[in-house]
Symmetry: C2
Subunit: 195 residues, 2 copies
């Protein structure tokens, strides 16, 4: 666990290696992952006094920490940095709204396929077209917690995708996209805005 929901926010983090999950949880034990962070991405916005999420390492991670005071100094020194922070926060808002649509209006199958494609395109740094192969570093329980499903449902959907020949699952949580067009048509999603 890197940071914990509710504790005083003293730093922001940049992931350089590995994957981090951001979790919201309620007192009765239900948890919802509000996002994953892969290398190159930030978490723990400095806009609030306390952390709004719990951050947990999904794999071994390497992080770059900026203390709040250091950040304040940098902001004075480089005024453009604030614009960059604003941009990042806006991009995260956009991603969060995508997730809202996903959770509110899409079926289990659509959720899983969308997750596979999204995560795939996010982890191949720079390369534009969707990869045919993606490695999922997180357990089923994390995928389920991200998609608002149970692990059994995630597992069943993956099995059915394999049965229908759309994907194959290899060892160590790797997934190969066999019928990419079909997968993309299942993912569909909100009207694609040029982003």
């Amino acid at each position: 666990m890197i940071i914990c929901e509710g504790e005083p926010a003293t730093s922001i983090f940049n992931v350089t290696q590995g994957v981090v999950k951001l979790v919201r949880s309620s007192s009765d034990g239900r948890t919802q992952i509000v996002g994953f962070r892969v290398p190159g991405e930030f978490f723990a916005t400095p806009a609030f006094e306390r952390h709004t999420v719990t951050a947990v390492a999904v794999t071994d991670v390497q992080l770059c920490r900026f203390s709040r005071s250091r950040l304040a100094g940098l902001l004075r020194e480089y005024p453009d940095l604030l614009a960059r922070l604003f941009e990042m926060s806006s991009a995260q808002l956009l991603a969060s709204e995508d997730q809202v649509f996903l959770l509110g209006r899409r079926t289990a199958r659509e959720k899983v396929v969308t997750f596979l494609l999204d995560f795939s395109s996010r982890t191949l740094l720079g390369r534009p077209e969707p990869q045919r192969l993606v490695h999922l570093p997180m357990a089923r329980v994390d995928i389920a917690d991200f998609l608002g499903l149970t692990i059994e449902t995630v597992s069943r959907v993956l099995s059915s995708l394999v049965r229908e020949g759309l994907i194959t699952v290899g060892i160590s949580r790797s997934v190969r996209f066999v019928d990419l067009p079909a997968l993309m048509s299942i993912a569909g999603g909100p009207e694609p805005v040029i982003r």
Copy 2:
């Protein structure tokens, strides 16, 4: 309709009267409301070239529009304004993550009660304690679209809350909270962070 998803973003808006809904929709007709905006709140972030949501007036509205060019000028003139924008965007991100938890991990009943209490506390400008009476300007279909439910489910939940004596519904979409403690315990939600 005030702005439309995907069209070039030329302005940002501040609501001064009435209520606006922000909608994401997919090509197959499913829609998800990602937020409501009440007087005092902004929408249509200037961070992207194109609008990421469709904004529709729920009631008669009065808006204050800032063109992008005007905003750019203001940003040059008042550097602190950017910090304010960043804050607003962060607050919206927080709200969006709340909604993610709501959609992903809570039951229909919890969703509806949470919505009632949240909307109530948001519309009473300034007054801190939750009001006993709230006016819902939007139709059932909008509540359903916000909570990822159907109108029938929303209606059924409200009926059951009335039957159990937790609320009463008056004319013209007004709702009175009869047993506020019980409602708040149903709403519960993620661990309350001091915000």
